[in-house]
Symmetry: C2
Subunit: 247 residues, 2 copies
DNA sequence: ACAAAAGTGTTGAATCTACACCCATGC
DNA sequence: GCATGGGTGTAGATTCAACACTTTTGT
């Protein structure tokens, strides 16, 4: 217990974004290099302070646009939760609202970026060293990846990793990369097609470098998957965000 | 777009709790009657301001204790997310971090309560009128109930609704009440027992008012359920907290 | 022809659902 | 005995996992 105990702590609120994509066969996250103190020169998730009169979701979309040039209305954007440990920001008491954004396989590093250097990096690299990212961004990223993995099971989230149209193989690659397990192409295809509203055939085909041309699909109207896509047992992890032992 | 647009909005942070239990065959939420403005006399979720140097989770546990007399370490407590729409609190800019707490079937209203009147109320009643609860607490409660329903499927959350020991019938009642669907007692029992680590027999029995005595169980070590408990198709709802159309 | 990727069919194992049936208690 | 809830057995439908096999392209 610290001694300071005035009620109504003076708090600043930031919004931070874990923007994930699948590139080069790996799950990658968009990082910026911090141009200012604290943590100057360190890699960090893009984000910034909440403005007066601004909604949280709007702030997330604005930061997305300012720092990456991406259009928030086209991306999946969902709140992950609040991170507010007292010592997480050396400037003072700062609570951040973390967001998970999913980007389709994008051109490259990112156009119109505000920050010194924005780049994609494989999440394993970012998570390998707990102090690789500024603040508690390692924790946030871990939460984001967990969430993305989980949501692939029960929702159609995987389709937003893909472009406007995509092949069954591309969609399957999303699952394989995010989950880190190989899936049977035959059974995968069958299951996706059988799940009502998951994907709809666009009527066109795409010629591959090799092999038979693949049917192109686009997102269907469904958001939740029933039955869910399975990735086998275990997976561990707390029930989503449990705080107390509760056991 | 509002005109005020200084960066670094001055914000206060509160913590609000949606405390759920199953009582009298219904899913109920703990409400207090507000003793101060704004919304004086209106029903609201318990909560209060974050203090200096205090962790978010610690604040949630403190409010739980202060306002309800419950011991946070014994309850399931998990963050739901942040709610921060600009107009949600007439006192100014207040972002709240909402928590979901699950309480076992408790004695009654609640001992040692701080607030004028704390009471349990069926969630349908609280949600029937969008303005029944103060602030945006209706939204928060809806999110909490959705989350609880979802977590019953994939986690052992149901056991924390029960006391230290419980019968299969009591555990089943949790599912039936929270989901609002009847379940087959025979299949339910079999499935729970087959899921490793969900429950463990305590070796004792409880004599009922009527019928054969029931075996008493206590929580097992598992936190996630595989395979999950199923409640049939649909359910609808956005993919958990999607913000943008993303479609 | 051959490699490579897209797809279809099939089969055995596991699971879900529904329900018949037995067990143990209070009245 | 009989009502009531706890609990086991079992059969048919559905789903899953694994893999043989066919289709369609580029080289």
């Amino acid at each position: 217990m610290s001694s300071a105990r005035r009620a109504h702590a003076a708090v600043k609120v930031t919004v931070d974004l874990a923007i994930l994509t699948v590139r080069e066969g790996r799950l990658q996250v968009l990082l910026i290099e911090r141009g200012n103190e604290p943590f100057r020169g360190r890699a960090a998730l893009p984000g910034g302070f909440l403005r007066d009169g601004e909604d949280l979701d709007a702030a997330a979309r604005r930061e997305l646009r300012e720092e990456t040039g991406l259009d928030g209305s086209a991306l999946h954007l969902a709140q992950l939760g609040a991170f507010g440990a007292p010592g997480r920001d050396p400037r003072g008491r700062v609570v951040t609202i973390a967001y998970l954004a999913i980007a389709p396989h994008l051109p490259v590093p990112v156009p119109g970026s505000d920050a010194s250097g924005a780049r994609w990096e494989p999440v394993e690299a970012s998570l390998a060293d707990p102090d690789r990212l500024a603040f508690d961004h390692g924790d946030i990223l871990r939460t984001a990846v967990d969430r993305a993995r989980r949501e692939l099971e029960y929702t159609t989230l995987a389709t937003v990793f893909c472009g406007e149209t995509f092949t069954m193989g591309e969609l399957r690659e999303i699952y394989e990369v995010v989950w880190g397990v190989p899936l049977d192409p035959r059974n995968f295809s069958r299951k996706v097609k059988k799940t009502e509203g998951f994907v709809i055939p666009s009527g066109e085909q795409r010629v591959q470098e090799t092999g038979r041309p693949a049917t192109l699909y686009r997102r269907g109207p469904a958001t939740t998957l029933y039955p869910p896509m399975l990735r086998g047992a275990d997976q561990g992890g707390e029930p989503v965000g449990a705080v107390s032992p509760a056991r």
